[in-house]
Symmetry: C2
Subunit: 247 residues, 2 copies
C-alpha cells in the first residue's frame, strides 16, 4: 500500500536549526557553515533557512546562558509581556517565535529540523514529537539511507503535555540527536553524519513536494516509560556508576 503522507500542501517554509544548546557542536558548526553557504539547503521546491538558535550560549560554548532555550517555547513565556529582567533565552524564544511562528498559527513554518548532540553512545536518535504521519515517513526515509547505522526513533512528547521545544513553534518538526560527542567538542564523524542526515531530510521534503507516494511500513519506536536514578548517598552524591561492561 502506498500513500502520500499528510500534510496536503507542499512544504515551502523549512528551517534547519543549530545551536539550540550552545555547546552541541555538530549543529553549531553546520548552522555557521550554512549561513555562509546557503546553497546546500536549497532544493527545487524550497530553500531551507539556517538558524543559529542561541548565539549567546554558542559564543560562551555553554548549553544556555540563563535557562534552557529548548524548554522556553511555552504559551506562558511566549505571550507574557517582555521585561528587561527576562532570562536571555526567554527573550530569544520570543524572537524565534516571531521568525518561525507564531506558534500554533497558520503563518508558522511548515517544518523545522533541530540539531543536537549527546554524550551518550546512542548513534543517531530521531526525536519526534509532532506524532504526524509525515514526520514518521521522514524518519523511515532517514533510516533507509544508512541501514547499517543505528538510527532509532524516540517519541518524545507525552500526549496532553504542553509543548515547549523550538520545534513546537513550527507546524511540524524533527530533532536529530547524535552521539557520543562531548560538549564543546566537534567530532568529524558526527559532523559528516549530521550533514548527510539533513541533506536526506531535505531530499525527502523535495520528494514529498513533487507528489511522491511512499510505501506503508512498520517502524519500531521508543517512548519514555520511567526514569531510573543512580543509587545515591544520603547527601545526594553518586553511590554507583554504570558498570564498565555496560557503558
Amino acid at each position: 500500500m502506498c500513500s502520500r503522507p499528510a500534510p496536503r500542501e507542499p512544504l515551502r517554509r523549512v528551517a534547519v536549526i543549530g545551536g539550540t544548546h550552545g555547546n552541541e557542536m555538530s549543529g553549531v558548526h553546520l548552522a555557521r557553515h550554512w549561513l555562509r553557504a546557503l546553497g546546500e539547503l536549497q532544493r527545487p521546491s524550497f530553500s531551507a533557512v539556517p538558524v543559529l538558535a542561541n548565539p549567546a550560549a554558542t559564543a560562551a560554548c555553554r548549553r544556555y546562558v540563563d535557562c534552557d532555550l529548548n524548554r522556553a517555547f511555552t504559551g506562558a513565556f511566549l505571550t507574557a509581556r517582555a521585561h528587561p529582567d527576562d532570562p536571555y533565552e526567554v527573550t530569544r524564544a520570543r524572537e524565534l517565535n516571531q521568525l518561525l511562528g507564531p506558534k500554533a498559527s497558520g503563518q508558522a513554518f511548515d517544518f523545522v529540523l533541530d540539531l543536537h548532540n549527546t554524550t551518550a553512545s546512542m548513534g543517531t536518535c530521531l526525536i519526534e514529537s509532532s506524532h504526524n504521519v509525515f514526520a514518521m515517513h521522514l524518519c523511515r526515509h532517514l533510516q533507509l539511507q544508512s541501514p547499517e547505522l543505528p538510527c532509532r526513533v524516540f517519541l518524545y512528547q507525552l500526549p496532553g503535555e504542553e509543548t515547549y521545544s523550538v520545534n513546537s513553534v513550527a507546524k511540524s518538526g524533527l530533532g536529530l540527536e547524535l552521539g557520543p560527542q562531548p560538549q564543546g567538542v566537534l567530532r568529524a564523524d558526527l559532523l559528516v553524519r549530521m550533514r548527510a542526515l539533513v541533506a536526506a531530510a531535505l531530499d525527502f521534503i523535495q520528494l514529498f513536494n513533487q507528489g511522491t507516494e511512499f510505501p506503508a511500513f512498520e517502524l519500531e519506536a521508543y517512548r519514555n516509560v520511567s526514569s531510573v536514578d543512580f543509587p545515591r548517598t544520603e547527601t545526594g552524591d553518586l553511590a554507583g556508576t554504570v558498570h564498565p561492561q555496560l557503558q
Copy 2:
C-alpha cells in the same frame, strides 16, 4: 644500578586533589568518596588528605566559576591583598595555599596528586612539572602497574616559566589526566583506572618512605614543541576538523 630517589626525608604530608576543574568527574567523585572514607588514602607511614579543590565550580558542574583555578597559583595572585571583588578562584587559590603551602616554603606539603580528565582519547597521561627524580620514578612505577595500558609522561612546565598550577603549591606533585570522558560525565572505566593509579602512587610513596631503592631506567617523555590551530575562516570559525580516520 639502583638508587633512592631524592628527596632524602620520608614524605609525610601528601594530598590527593579532585575537582580542580569542577566538571572533570573522576577526581570530583573520588574526592567526595574519600572525604567520606579516609582509610583508602592511608598507608603505614602517612595519611594522604583528600581535597575538593573548587567546590563552587563542582556544584555548578563547570570547569570554573570566574577563572581557571589551575592557573591561579601565581605569586601575584597569592600575595596580593584580598579584595571583595576578587574572582572566586583567586580567593580559593589563597585558601588552598594556606592549606597545602605556603608555596615555596618549608611548610608546604611534600607531595600532591591532582586528578583531571580530558575529552581526548589519550588514555592515561602523567603530567609532571616539578622535574625531579622522585616524580620520574613515580611515573615509572605507575607505568609498570599496567604495562598494557597507554600511560605517557608529559613534561608540562617550561624551564624558567612561573608555575601556576595547584601542584606548584607543594614541594612536588603529579597530575593524572585520564580520557576520553566528556565534561560532567562519570565513566566507570576511567573511575576504576584513576582509583587504581592513586592507590599505586600512594603505595610508591610508602615504598620510598620505608627506604626502598629503585632501579635506574630510561623513560620516554613528551614535551610541548608548538601549538597548531585548526584552519579557520576570516571570522575565526572552524574551516576544518580532524579527519574521521585520525580522531
